[in-house]
Symmetry: C2
Subunit: 335 residues, 2 copies
């Protein structure tokens, strides 16, 4: 791989910092490195590949000479800077939801639809975290026979709400242990010792924006426009890994054995049939690494062409930062 | 209601103690009260209706003269004492799973199939906790048109594992806050900051005993032998209330409006369409009371005859103790 010039837009958040770490771990050969953030974080220091950098305020002119810009900012900043990144000739690999459903923008999980990345016109979207993890788990089964319907209930970690989300759970747990009153700023209700069945904002059909991503982004990633999904997204008091309980039906019957075989050889997946004597992962097992762990594959008892499974993956890594770096790597290796 | 003579078998556990409290709250007029437990707990004291009692060791002869025995013990003790309770002429309202699928034994959620209780031959079973909560939530909709298929993912509190389960979560949280190593005795993995997708033991089809109860007990409670359920039971770090994410299909279409109306008037249910500005309960909201709270009723996006909803209920109360006392009350009021 040739040396590349990389910018990270939003380098001081949980995902931005994780992107730096993953770039190092994957030994991506970086020539110029430009850490960018909003005015608030500009001036702070970050260390990348052993060298200290001063974070710069992102401006329209920040992207000249860069090959790739990894985006770890919200929709507002992503939309604001995308045209300038493209104009500068860099590829914007964006973790926000701004461009995901744009037909001109590939939405990529490298293990599933990596080739789509090469059709980019300057922007590639990184999918929603729960969607990435679920799609890695079911992608190889969908390749045997297309998934027609899916029922998903998520168990989403607080890292999905960034640094502030992680701190809120830690603080609430410490306050609880000390018998102090709990503070709440990030989540709409206490998250320690609780679960909250509402992530994102409600849409017209009663599902939230987060829940609709599983269907809408899932269709685009799997190239399966007929996919229908009823999803319920739930925040749980877990730090980093998301879990998803999924039942789905395929056009033709796929047996448990076929599904297990497909998952066991699928890139990015681990089939947990016998991990420490059990057949399932927990979120704690899967934190701090990039693979999606899939267990408890069994027949859907309501249908002769359905399966039920449980999967977990690190939300900050495969659900966000690592997936983006994997897209970058895919492009850079062929550049 | 005439005064009744009541024994509690297993009066020192979480459910047994809750039964005493619910008997008091419901002002069940009790004449003789006999607190029973295994030899380990015999001799300890309990207070009921302001009077202190010494817990007696349960023996074959403990049940003479009692009208009702509430069972809050495991399958072994339940099976051991059931014949003696029946022989003594008392009705055994049993919270264990021993007799639930026995065709001679009614399995009762009073709001749904209370009349079944009167067909008892001395034993009535209290259903599984998640099943009770889910059936209260969907019972009124099933009455409009029978549920054909159900997809359920549970978020089950640690109280389901009794006093030891509650203590394990509290201790792990305190140890975590203090930076101490965590101890684990009850759950197969750390439960603080984690979720565990395995409750009960695995059966031949890959589902656990706990998961199969939703289908098998659900059929019996709803008088719906055709009900098919794919369930995933997951332990979450929550103290007392279980939550269930459910999608289900009915024989004929039931609209969201019809379902909301049915739930809003169903006994034992609260429809949460606007509770503190939101349309869903969390487990914390529903702890310490007997109603099942149902929210987020919306169309199943995979079918034109399906619905998705979220429900929560106190596992120790409606999921166990209160349901048993409600059965007792039903019988005693007509005796």
């Amino acid at each position: 791989m040739k040396k590349v010039n990389i910018g990270i837009l939003g380098c001081t958040g949980v995902v931005g910092r994780q992107m730096m770490q993953v770039l190092e771990e994957y030994r991506i050969p970086v020539d110029r490195f430009v850490p960018l953030a909003s005015a608030n974080s500009a001036g702070s220091k970050v260390v990348f590949n052993g060298k200290e950098y001063t974070v710069q305020e992102a401006k329209e002119t920040s992207f000249e000479g860069l090959d790739y810009v990894l985006g770890a900012v919200g929709n507002g900043m992503a939309k604001l800077f995308a045209p300038h990144i493209v104009k500068a000739g860099a590829v914007f690999i964006d973790n926000s939801s701004s461009f995901r459903m744009d037909p001109e923008v590939p939405l990529v999980v490298p293990e599933i639809n990596g080739e789509d990345a090469f059709k980019n016109k300057g922007i590639i979207s990184n999918p929603n975290c729960s969607t990435i993890i679920t799609m890695v788990a079911v992608g190889a089964i969908n390749a045997i026979s297309p998934i027609t319907e899916m029922f998903a209930s998520t168990y989403q970690a607080v890292s999905g709400a960034g640094k502030a989300g992680l701190e809120e759970l830690e603080n609430q747990m410490a306050d609880m242990a000390a018998g102090r009153a709990l503070e709440r700023n990030v989540f709409p209700h206490q998250i320690a010792m609780n679960v909250i069945p509402c992530i994102g904002s409600e849409t017209d059909n009663g599902y939230t924006t987060e829940e609709m991503k599983m269907q809408n982004e899932g269709r685009k990633i799997l190239h399966n426009p007929g996919l229908k999904v009823s999803c319920t997204c739930v925040r749980v008091p877990v730090m980093r890994s998301h879990s998803i309980s999924v039942t789905f039906r395929t056009k033709e019957k796929v047996s448990v054995e076929q599904a297990e075989k497909a998952v066991s050889v699928a890139p990015g997946c681990v089939l947990t049939t016998d991990f420490q004597g059990r057949n399932y992962p927990t979120p704690l097992d899967t934190s701090g690494q990039d693979l999606v762990w899939v267990g408890r594959i069994r027949e859907d008892l309501t249908s002769d062409r359905g399966l039920t499974l449980w999967c977990c993956g690190d939300q900050v890594r495969k659900g966000a930062a690592s997936n983006a770096v994997q897209i970058l790597k895919l492009l850079a290796e062929r550049a």
